[in-house]
C-alpha cells in the first residue's frame, strides 16, 4: 500500500486534554528534584558503563582481600642434610650426643655440658 494512501481517512487521534500538561510537568519536576545527585554525575561525564566497570573492579579487589594471596615462601625448603643437622643440634642441646657416624659431615659440634659439676666445690669428697 502506498504510504500516501490511507484507509483511515483524514482523521486524527484526539489531542491530549489541556490539564495533562500541568500534571505531567509537575510530576516530572518532582522526579527531577528527587534525583539531584545526578548533577555531579553529569558534570563528571560518568555513564552507566563507568559505574559497571568500577563495580567490577571493586568486587575484584574485595575478593582478593577476602581470599588473600598465598604467603611468600622466604626460605628455601629444607634439604635432607639441613634437616639432619638441625636434628643433631636439637639433640645436642638436650645433652644427647650421637655416635660419630650420625654427625653431619660439614662440621662437628661438641655439645657443651651445661651441668658440669666436676670443678664445683665439694666434688673431691
Amino acid at each position: 500500500m502506498n504510504r500516501r494512501e490511507s484507509l483511515l481517512g483524514p482523521f486524527s487521534p484526539p489531542l491530549p486534554p489541556r490539564d495533562l500538561r500541568e500534571k505531567a510537568l509537575a510530576a516530572a519536576e518532582a522526579a527531577w528534584e528527587a534525583a539531584p545527585g545526578e548533577a555531579w554525575v553529569r558534570r563528571a561525564g560518568f555513564t552507566r558503563w563507568d559505574w559497571a566497570w568500577a563495580a567490577g573492579l571493586a568486587l575484584l579487589l574485595l575478593g582478593n582481600l577476602l581470599v588473600g594471596g598465598r604467603p611468600r615462601k622466604s626460605a628455601a625448603p629444607p634439604s635432607p642434610a639441613n634437616r639432619e643437622r638441625a636434628e643433631i643440634e636439637e639433640l645436642a642441646g638436650l645433652g644427647i650426643v650421637l655416635p660419630p657416624h650420625h654427625r653431619a659431615p660439614q662440621r662437628l659440634r661438641i655439645p657443651q655440658e651445661v651441668d658440669d659439676l666436676s670443678g664445683a666445690a665439694g666434688a673431691d669428697l
Binding site: P14, P17, R21, L25, A35, R42
Partner: protein
C-alpha cells in the same frame, strides 16, 4: 461494514493528518539536550513538541484515555529521572515513543484492565455530520485491531516511522514490525470492506 463513497477517501494530501506531528527531530534533540544540561524549561518545550504524538500513541496502545494520560505523565517522569543520558539520544522521536511503549507495558501489567474499549475514541475529526460519522466508522475499525497492531499502525501512519525505527522503539525485529503492520492493514480492509 460497507465503505460509503466519499466518506472514507483513500488518498490523502498529507501522509500524516495528525495535528500534533512530532515535526522536527532537531527541536526534540535540543530539548533533550537541554534537559541533560539541567535546564528544566526544556521539559516544557519537549512536552509542547511531543505530547500529542505520545498521547495518541498511548491511547491507541492502551485503549483507555485515563491510562493514556498516565502513560504520558510517566514518560516525562522517566525522562526527568534519566536526564543525564538524554544528550546521547540519536533518534529522539523513536526514543520517546520507545519510552512511551515501555511505560504502557508496565501500566498494563499493573492494571490489567478488562473493561471493553470505547470504540469511538481512536479517531476524530470532520466538520459535518457525514465526516464525523466516517470518523466514527474508522475508529470502530481501529478498535477491531489488537493493541500490538494498533500501535504499529499508529507509529507508521501518524509518526511516519520506518519499520526499523518501529522495531527499535518497540524492541522487536524489523520483520515482526512489518508483519504486524501487514496483518493490521489486511484486517482494516476487511472490516472497512475495502478491496485489497
Amino acid at each position: 461494514m460497507r465503505r460509503e463513497e466519499g466518506l472514507l477517501p483513500v488518498a490523502l494530501a498529507e501522509p500524516n493528518a495528525h495535528g500534533g506531528d512530532m515535526s522536527d527531530e532537531r527541536v526534540l534533540a535540543e530539548a533533550l539536550a537541554g534537559m541533560a544540561r539541567g535546564d528544566k524549561e526544556a521539559m516544557a518545550v519537549l512536552y509542547d513538541e511531543a505530547s500529542a504524538d505520545l498521547y495518541g500513541y498511548a491511547l491507541w496502545k492502551t485503549g483507555n484515555p485515563d491510562d493514556a494520560q498516565d502513560v504520558v505523565q510517566e514518560v516525562f517522569v522517566r525522562l526527568a529521572r534519566t536526564r543525564a543520558s538524554l544528550a546521547r539520544v540519536s533518534k529522539p522521536r523513536s526514543y520517546l515513543l520507545g519510552v512511551a511503549h515501555r511505560a504502557a507495558v508496565d501500566l498494563h501489567r499493573l492494571r490489567r484492565r478488562t473493561e471493553p474499549l470505547e470504540e469511538s475514541l481512536f479517531l476524530e475529526g470532520g466538520a459535518g455530520p457525514g465526516e464525523r460519522f466516517a470518523a466514527r466508522e474508522a475508529s470502530l475499525a481501529v478498535a477491531a485491531l489488537t493493541p500490538d497492531q494498533r500501535e504499529i499502525v499508529y507509529l507508521r501512519h501518524f509518526c511516519d516511522l520506518s519499520f526499523a525505527e518501529i522495531g527499535a522503539a518497540l524492541g522487536i525485529s524489523l520483520f515482526t514490525a512489518a508483519s504486524r503492520y501487514r496483518l493490521a492493514i489486511k484486517r482494516l480492509r476487511r472490516v472497512l470492506g475495502v478491496a485489497p
